[in-house]
């Protein structure tokens, strides 16, 4: 039993929690509001660097400061999201995707050169010296809290408005929903979660490098949301945990001489999953405590 509860598996579990928080955010953006965002990792990064910088400069080792730093990370991500959202929310699906992708690239360039204006941030040389604050209680705590917030949001009238927009924007507008406001809100809230997850990540691995926040990472979290089932919280949670554990688990399942096959097998599994269950693993079914009353 000792072998399974060792620090390695615990950290993997914590990483899964962090991923899940980020994925819940993207689920709000894409799963519920239908906004195709390919720049999620950029907001994750904004949260990570903000929280890390604040904590490193002012927080020291205090738990309260850590909480504040992570929330600030979320706030920073939300602020930037609102700024970006203002002009881009009127773009349609694939174009919004490209615009957010573009934003992601721009942020990566900013991260790579961040040391030019704030040497603490390290730029492409990486940011070190972050204290390891994200423990199991924090990771689980944030995950549970995020899940509750998302659940309540989704089952509120706000959430229903978002779903209405996803299903048929024109009809929703005719029904009196302020489409633009709701989209912007959905986008901002989703990115806030990404920022919080980023702050947690920074203090879990204690090292930040811009390559952690590139387009491929945005694709990773998008895959999780799609595989879990769009607009399905349980699916997102399951897929986030499944993804992290699959990646690490493959190390054991493959014989030692074939370690490099890990990343050949994974895309095959991905394609197979999509072919066999394009609506996502859980489709529209939610776990009992995540179901609201009334219509889904």
């Amino acid at each position: 039993m000792d072998a399974l509860l060792n620090p390695y598996w615990i950290q993997i579990f914590e990483l899964a929690c962090v991923f899940a928080v980020s994925a819940l955010g993207l689920n709000i953006i894409y799963g519920y509001t239908g906004l195709f965002s390919l720049g999620h990792a950029a907001f994750y990064g904004i949260g990570a660097y903000t929280a890390a910088f604040l904590m490193k400069s002012y927080g020291g080792d205090s738990q309260a400061a850590f909480l504040a730093a992570v929330l600030c990370g979320g706030a920073a991500a939300a602020a930037v999201a609102a700024l970006i959202g203002l002009p881009t929310m009127r773009l349609t699906s694939d174009y919004l995707g490209i615009a957010t992708l573009g934003f992601g690239v721009i942020m990566k360039v900013v991260f790579d050169n961040a040391d030019a204006f704030l040497p603490e941030l390290g730029g492409a040389r990486g940011m070190t010296g972050i204290s390891r604050m994200t423990s199991l209680p924090w990771a689980l705590g944030f995950l549970v809290l995020s899940t509750l917030v998302v659940r309540n949001l989704v089952h509120s009238s706000y959430g229903r408005a978002l779903t209405a927009i996803r299903e048929d924007e024109t009809a929703a507008g005719t029904m009196g929903i302020d489409v633009f406001r709701c989209k912007l809100a959905g986008f901002t809230v989703g990115c806030a979660f990404a920022g919080i997850a980023g702050g947690l990540y920074a203090h879990l691995y204690a090292f930040l490098h811009p390559s952690n926040f590139d387009f491929i990472k945005s694709v990773d979290v998008l895959m999780i949301v799609v595989i879990g089932g769009l607009g399905n919280m349980s699916g997102t949670l399951a897929a986030a945990f499944g993804w992290v554990f699959l990646l690490e688990g493959m190390r054991f399942l493959l014989p030692p001489d074939y370690v490099e096959l890990r990343w050949v097998v994974i895309p095959v599994l991905l394609v197979a999953t999509m072919l066999l269950r394009p609506q996502g693993l859980l489709g529209r079914r939610e776990l009992p405590f995540l179901r609201g009353g009334g219509l889904q």
């Binding site: 881009t88 694939d94 174009y95 490209i98 990566k108 900013v110 799609v226 394609v271 394009p278 609506q279």
Partner: protein, 294 residues
């Protein structure tokens, strides 16, 4: 002034290479509304086919191009049948994720030692580089070949799309695939043909790229693919001249940023231009606004 001219030519060179890749993206999107993320990797395979054809096969250049074109077209057809066609009626995002999966698979699988291998391989240039000095500006024969091949591909493509029956069928399916099917068009065949055609262009692009930048590696397709896709969107995705225009603009934006500002901001500025253009014209420069029927 000469500096500016020289940089403009540099920009044209990279712009034309992006254009060849962008054409494939735009064509496929026009017909099936899919962002084929695997397109950049098909381009990579084209470059490797070129590498083997020149290095091991010692084949003459036109045959090399032909081999890459045919090889890539076949690859794309297989991908379409195996991975995309079964998802024709599934939510769009599922196909997108599948395309991403295919892209990763191509990159990692070909990097295995038993396939292409992980190294950076030098692409043998089948001819010597010749530069001509026109005034203070230098133009190389490589640039000339890139311009020539891309322009001819573009002309050929315009011909196929607007002057042949196959092209008409493509345009019909792009407009409304249900109606086209009802009119007797074999939609599956058209889609397969489109994929093949786009991939053929990517294959040719791969060989050109290998000649111009003589180093290939199984991850080389990803970034040019992304930039070409961005260019296609910039120009209006679904529009063939738009793709070329977008690609040329991207090429110039990148080059001029490096030339006059700093290369550090190059990618950032290129995407900033994209975002600004999209804000001004949400469907790209030459894209046609799609009316949503209520």
């Amino acid at each position: 002034m000469d500096y500016f001219l020289q940089q403009t030519i540099n920009g044209l060179q990279i712009g034309f290479v992006y254009a060849l890749i962008a054409l494939g993206y735009t064509m496929v999107y026009g017909v099936v509304r899919l962002i084929n993320f695997a397109h950049g990797d098909v381009f990579m395979v084209g470059a490797f086919i070129g590498l083997y054809a020149i290095d091991r096969g010692r084949l003459p250049l036109p045959v090399v191009f032909a081999a890459a074109i045919v090889g890539c077209a076949l690859l794309a057809v297989v991908i379409e049948r195996v991975a995309y066609r079964p998802l024709r009626d599934a939510p769009k995002i599922a196909v997108l994720i599948t395309a991403i999966g295919v892209s990763f698979f191509l990159e990692y699988f070909t990097s295995l030692n038993q396939v292409f291998g992980p190294n950076y391989y030098s692409f043998p240039r089948p001819f010597e580089v010749v530069s001509w000095e026109i005034g203070e500006v230098t133009v190389t024969n490589i640039q000339a070949i890139i311009f020539a091949v891309t322009l001819s591909c573009l002309v050929a493509l315009q011909y196929v799309v607007y002057r042949t029956k196959a092209g008409k069928a493509m345009r019909a399916v792009s407009h409304d695939h249900v109606a086209a099917g009802l009119m007797g068009v074999n939609v599956n065949l058209v889609i397969t043909f489109t994929f093949g055609l786009g991939a053929a262009l990517a294959g040719a692009g791969g060989v050109l790229y290998g000649i111009a930048y003589p180093q290939v590696n199984t991850f080389m397709g990803f970034v040019p693919g992304l930039k070409a896709f961005t260019a296609a969107v910039l120009g209006g995705i679904g529009s063939i001249p738009g793709a070329v225009l977008g690609a040329l603009i991207m090429g110039q934006a990148e080059t001029m940023t490096s030339a006059y500002l700093s290369s550090t901001y190059r990618d950032g500025i290129a995407f900033l231009i994209l975002i600004l253009v999209l804000l001004w014209r949400p469907t790209g420069i030459m894209g046609s606004p799609r009316a949503d029927k209520v």
